[in-house]
């Protein structure tokens, strides 16, 4: 393994001399070509110390929350916090953690793993695995939600009972994984909505998974938060939402929220740098992971979250002159829907001087099929954006504009490249960029430079 580690670190070093942000995946990609078994070797050495994070949305944010929490508790860890979550990225993160004697001295590694690439860990039991959610995302690659769940069940069945699995109680398809979990299961969930995610008619967006994964009957909801998240039960069989071990309650929408941990520990929901019900769910997932790792509710209660910074593209703010750019990664209907809810809740004085920039590419990392765009509830946007302040860019900007037009939103301009929109944005105090992955990378690169 010494040679693999040396090679990986050398490639990374050379890439970083050219570009300091480079080298999150390419070193692993090249190493895999030369030594195809290097991934297996690295994982086998570390597996019992690994924390794996999987799900459609929220992986990167959850990893950064877990990392922050464990760092605060003085537990040394590494992570793939750039979001490089397929084999090449995982290999890069794993390999960089070893020294030239093939030793790793960090306590743990936190890895976000792409839905399809969790199969790389089949038969290799991690210490903790968290499953956040399953939504429709890149259906050209991921095909059907039930098929992803089936893959995960197969992987779970191959693990030992030492692995602790953390599951989202609000997502019925995630809860269906529990019967394949070999050992301890910890549930997290929202006991009450933190924010009202319905529109003025009280309707919510269509859910991605509204049928019982056990018997196929419709699910019944006593409370529905967003998409198919909520307090659910099957209308026919016994399958129902379990009581979460870690949950948040609120006395009223938007205030008085409390986090509950095992052992009757509770504390007020901290003010996080990432907002929205979906991010509260990610926060609970992170707490679940930290609890699974430490078994110490008191220590978790004392974590000071005030210095937590969001991961790149996830409600990240970049100041460019007098304009604040807010980057909101939006790559599927659930994610874009939640970001629109975030925009909807902005105070009127912020909205009056704000612009929205939608970005859509169709590269492999974005998902090549853009049909999902039409499942987004654009009508939830505040009224001010129906008249002005909306722009579009990306390789499919025309289809994006056409979709917005059919939702009664007339975009002011559309261009292939983000930099052509920049001159139009100078007069705005706040710009919210809602964009697919590679388009957001373009935005990030331009704004940072």
């Amino acid at each position: 393994m010494h040679i693999e580690v040396f090679l990986l670190k050398t490639i990374k070093f050379l890439l970083n001399t050219l570009n300091k942000d480079a080298g999150s995946s390419l070193p692993g990609f090249l190493l895999n070509k030369i030594y195809p078994h290097s991934f297996d070797k690295f994982v086998d050495k570390l597996k019992s110390r690994l924390i794996l994070v999987s799900g459609t949305n929220g992986k990167t944010t959850t990893v950064s929350l877990v990392r922050y929490g464990l760092d605060f508790l003085k537990i040394s860890c590494f992570s793939n916090d750039t979001g490089a979550n397929i084999q090449s990225g995982l290999l890069t993160s794993l390999g960089l953690n070893f020294n030239l004697k093939s030793q790793s001295f960090l306590d743990t590694g936190i890895l976000e793993v792409d839905e399809q690439h969790l199969r790389l860990f089949k038969g290799r039991s991690p210490k903790v695995q968290v499953f956040l959610n399953i939504f429709r995302d890149q259906l050209d690659r991921n095909t059907e939600l039930e098929k992803i769940a089936a893959i995960w069940k197969d992987i779970l069945s191959s693990w030992s009972k030492e692995t602790v699995v953390v599951l989202n109680a609000d997502d019925p398809l995630i809860v269906s994984l529990s019967k394949c979990c070999p050992g301890r299961v910890i549930y997290f969930g929202l006991q009450a909505p933190i924010f009202d995610t319905s529109d003025s008619t009280g309707k919510l967006t269509i859910g991605d998974s509204m049928y019982c994964p056990v018997c196929g009957s419709p699910l019944v909801y006593s409370a529905r938060f967003f998409s198919h998240f909520g307090h659910w039960s099957c209308s026919s069989c016994q399958f129902s939402r379990p009581q979460p071990d870690i949950f948040v309650t609120s006395d009223c929408l938007g205030g008085g929220s409390k986090i509950h941990l095992p052992g009757n520990t509770e504390f007020s929901l901290p003010e996080l740098a990432v907002v929205g019900s979906h991010n509260i769910s990610n926060f609970l997932a992170a707490l679940g992971v930290i609890y699974a790792y430490t078994n110490n509710s008191s220590a978790i209660k004392n974590i000071d979250w005030s210095n937590f910074l969001p991961a790149p593209f996830r409600q990240e703010k970049i100041q460019a002159g007098a304009t604040t750019f807010n980057l909101l990664l939006s790559k599927n209907p659930a994610g874009l829907g939640q970001n629109i809810q975030f925009i909807k809740r902005l105070p009127p004085d912020i909205l009056t001087n704000s612009a929205l920039v939608f970005g859509l590419n169709d590269l492999y990392a974005d998902g090549r099929d853009i049909s999902w765009l039409w499942d987004v509830d654009f009508e939830q946007l505040p009224d001010c954006f129906y008249r002005s302040g909306v722009f579009a860019f990306g390789s499919r900007f025309r289809e994006l504009q056409f979709c917005l037009y059919n939702n009664n939103i007339k975009s002011e301009a559309g261009f292939r490249r983000f930099k052509k929109i920049l001159p139009h944005l100078k007069t705005y105090k706040n710009v919210y960029v809602l964009s697919s992955y590679t388009a957001m990378s373009e935005v990030h690169g331009i704004l940072k430079n």
Binding site: Y211, R398, F402, N406
Partner: protein, 253 residues
């Protein structure tokens, strides 16, 4: 707005996996732009399809699981009246999973057979690898002056049509019905079945106009003026771009 067209949307909860409601939105908006009030009704589980009340029908795509949930109800509560609707020249669009259920059966990879309603003389078998990617097809005759269909296909089903007369379009780039015979979709009277997503009517708005004008003529015995709408220019520019991309990816592989 004095004229009304009624659109029946079958199983919107189970078969809307893939931006299918975009097709509904486009039909609704394009009716509105032409002074027609389009009323959309959900026709779901247990709902009878009162075909005399409707002018258009739409049914979208879903996973194998979703299809298995609804097929019995589809046969029991909708098949007969849908057949009457077809014979009376009603207009229908059936995408992906819906398209498969319009045939005799769909057989998945474990051999499980989901029965269809046999309005289309075809059957479908699931195979690997999936047919996924951009698709460009050519219509045998132009529809409202347009000859090409653009879309994105994503299906494991291989559909085989018994009678060649009902093939909808010829595949220029992509896989189509089965990846062998170079044809895509099914067309019988005013019913169209297709694997094209995009959604199909977003990338091919002329097809929406054809559906609306055909339904309009059937109901009011009058021609509807279907000039291109201003926003269509965006799509036709996008299609030109897509054609180049599809061509280069075809040449490159």
């Amino acid at each position: 707005m004095s004229k009304i067209l009624r659109l029946g949307w079958f199983y919107p909860d189970q078969l809307s996996l893939y931006g299918d409601r975009g097709n509904i939105k486009i039909l609704f908006n394009r009716c509105f732009s032409r002074g027609i009030n389009c009323i959309v009704d959900y026709i779901g589980f247990g709902d009878r399809f009162a075909e005399k009340d409707y002018d258009l029908v739409f049914m979208g795509g879903g996973a194998d699981f979703s299809q298995s949930l609804i097929y019995e109800d589809f046969i029991k509560t909708k098949k007969d009246n849908l057949e009457s609707f077809l014979k009376s020249k009603g207009v229908g669009l059936f995408v992906c999973g819906a398209y498969q259920l319009m045939g005799h059966f769909y057989k998945n990879q474990t051999g499980l057979v989901t029965e269809g309603i046999s309005l289309f003389d075809m059957y479908t078998q699931s195979r690997t690898p999936r047919c996924t990617g951009r698709i460009v097809c050519q219509l045998p005759e132009p529809i409202l002056g347009k000859k090409y269909l653009f879309g994105f296909e994503n299906h494991s089903g291989r559909t085989f049509i018994t009678n060649n007369d009902f093939r909808f379009s010829r595949v220029l780039l992509g896989k189509g019905n089965n990846g062998f015979d170079r044809f895509e979709g099914y067309c019988k009277d005013n019913f169209i079945g297709t694997y094209l997503h995009g959604p199909i009517l977003a990338l091919n708005p002329f097809l929406a106009d054809w559906m609306i004008s055909t339904a309009f003529k059937r109901k009011f015995s009058d021609e509807l003026l279907t000039i291109q709408l201003p926003e269509d220019a965006l799509i036709y520019r996008a299609r030109a771009n897509l054609f180049l991309k599809s061509f280069f990816s075809f040449v490159n592989c």
